[in-house]
Point group: C3
Chain length 241, copies 3
């Protein structure tokens, strides 16, 4: 059993520590994993694809608290979803679309429980963390059935969804949607495949299937992001051989 | 019981891990919360206001290790303060001014205990962490009464004290020092109130009462810091309606 | 007993959380310390000197997982080394040179165990973390004796090996290789000694012996990195008095 955090709150900022304090008080003894706090800020679509690629490696019974929530304090509902034995607590804004689309077993509910004192802007701390703590402790908060908001979704997305601190650009393209003979094209540049970094000269660009099953654009010991001026949201074309 | 870390040591640097190792050895089994490691570097005044706004949410018996310490290795004393049942271990440079001013119960002491081997520049690891571990373990290090150094202090400070990774600027202005009809002025720009981000168009500036009770200048899905060229220390004016 | 992580994976990225999840599953109850995730990227030499300076403070029986691994997925072997009662799991690329050179007791082996499912690019998660979990749990993975790859090594290296988030530049120069009367020279600038930051005026440059026994170039409450345009890999000269 573990609580897994996936947010855009930033690892080195004032938010995550407050969430950890709530979880330590309300779910004592439960392991908390900081999976990601640099999810693309406000970007629900990119974050949904990234979460979809990351979550399947976690054990059943894991409780995910996933918060990329530009609508916090507005009309969007809080959601608790059970997908293939993993729990997800999230704003109902489409962030769970991939998780839901790929689940073979699913229950989705709106959370009705509310804390006695809730800030308008930090539901991560005040609402989602307590609900995650309850679920991890075997307590079911008050809820009602709700059809979750779903994004338009295609299994393999030809777009950059994340840039890591090495300057590598992760796309939404699934490994099985591309052949190793294909080139990946961004702007004017068509890039060939390599299995790993060390097959290329330093500074040379390539694409490869990364450790979460997605096509990634990289350069050996250099920043593909800077070489190609890449940004989250940029379109990618697959050029077949 | 938890040990709470508040420093300017940086979350992704060589310092915090060494502190965690000391705490794991000397206070085994005690939960350690990384509240903040990006406190404004060397800036005792801004950090004191930020700590003041953050600490009250933590449970009684929490032991805070708070280190923003430009005078490390010099004449300033190490301090251990009990304020309303929470412990604080800190350099005696005014960092605890807000904590002390707002405590209804207070004892303040200089720490006399010293470690067998202390570096001149990393008292966080060598002195403050072991003292925090002792206090969390119910051991009282050798000490003597001392009147702590206090900064000039006003309850509500018209100044930017922190900028978060979203580019939002947190001020020292308390929610009860301002009316929702007031505008907040920085440079040539006077900014109106919104309850939450989603009430505004993308890129539109506003101020709101943030989740730790302070006035914050933000823009919906954009960086207020860049739009207004804001910096920690900038003065803010409240323009009454 | 603790598992200590030293990598260039970045603290605020998608990698470290996945490693923590593996360790939580495979070595439950063992404390995991994030010593450093901003080791100089791809830079095995600088990282080796930094690891050498950092590791001696950790208790015997600690299990280090140290990964700076530009050759991941290529021919380099995975290594498990026991040096003075501490375990090290690492790529066999010279990263452990300092650890090995300074050990009085040493066993070095190639790891033969492989996971059922291993990505080509993230051995940190798929291979090194499971091996670290085994060693921390008292299980010895399959292995065979191997002479580890060693870098050219001098005890005290006149080069910048790390720049911290304050903008201080850590060199590979050992404290006992320099006199406090010496000046440290970088580019055109020769810099004198100070014991601690607060002995200098704000903005003034100095060198000092830092908390891990290395010469460090700093400026009081300012960024030496920016003042002197310093980079990892820059050469340093010691100018004797």
């Amino acid at each position: 059993m573990m609580i897994v955090l996936f947010t855009d709150f930033g690892a080195d900022d004032i938010y995550v520590g407050q969430i950890h304090a709530v979880l330590a008080e309300q779910a004592p003894g439960i392991t908390v994993i900081d999976l990601l706090h640099s999810a693309p800020a406000y970007d629900v679509v990119s974050s949904a694809y990234l979460l979809n690629a990351l979550h399947t490696r976690f054990p059943p019974q894991s409780v995910f608290m996933t918060v990329v929530d530009p609508g916090v304090g507005g009309a969007r509902a809080p959601l608790m979803v059970k997908a293939d034995d993993r729990w997800f607590v999230a704003p109902d804004n489409g962030l769970l679309t991939g998780v839901i689309r790929n689940a073979s077993k699913l229950t989705a509910n709106k959370v009705l429980w509310t804390p006695p004192d809730m800030s308008p802007s930090f539901h991560g701390r005040d609402l989602f963390a307590p609900v995650a703590a309850m679920l991890a402790s075997g307590v079911t908060p008050e809820h009602e059935v709700k059809a979750p908001v779903l994004l338009e979704w295609i299994a393999s997305l030809n777009r950059i969804i994340y840039i890591d601190h090495f300057g590598n650009a992760i796309t939404g393209i699934q490994a099985d949607a591309i052949s190793k003979q294909d080139r990946v094209s961004v702007g004017d540049c068509a890039i060939g495949y390599a299995r790993v970094f060390s097959e290329k000269e330093n500074g040379e660009l390539f694409w490869y299937v990364n450790s979460i099953g997605l096509v990634e654009i990289a350069a050996n010991q250099a920043r593909a992001e800077e070489i190609l001026d890449l940004h989250i949201g940029d379109s990618i074309r697959i050029v077949s051989a």
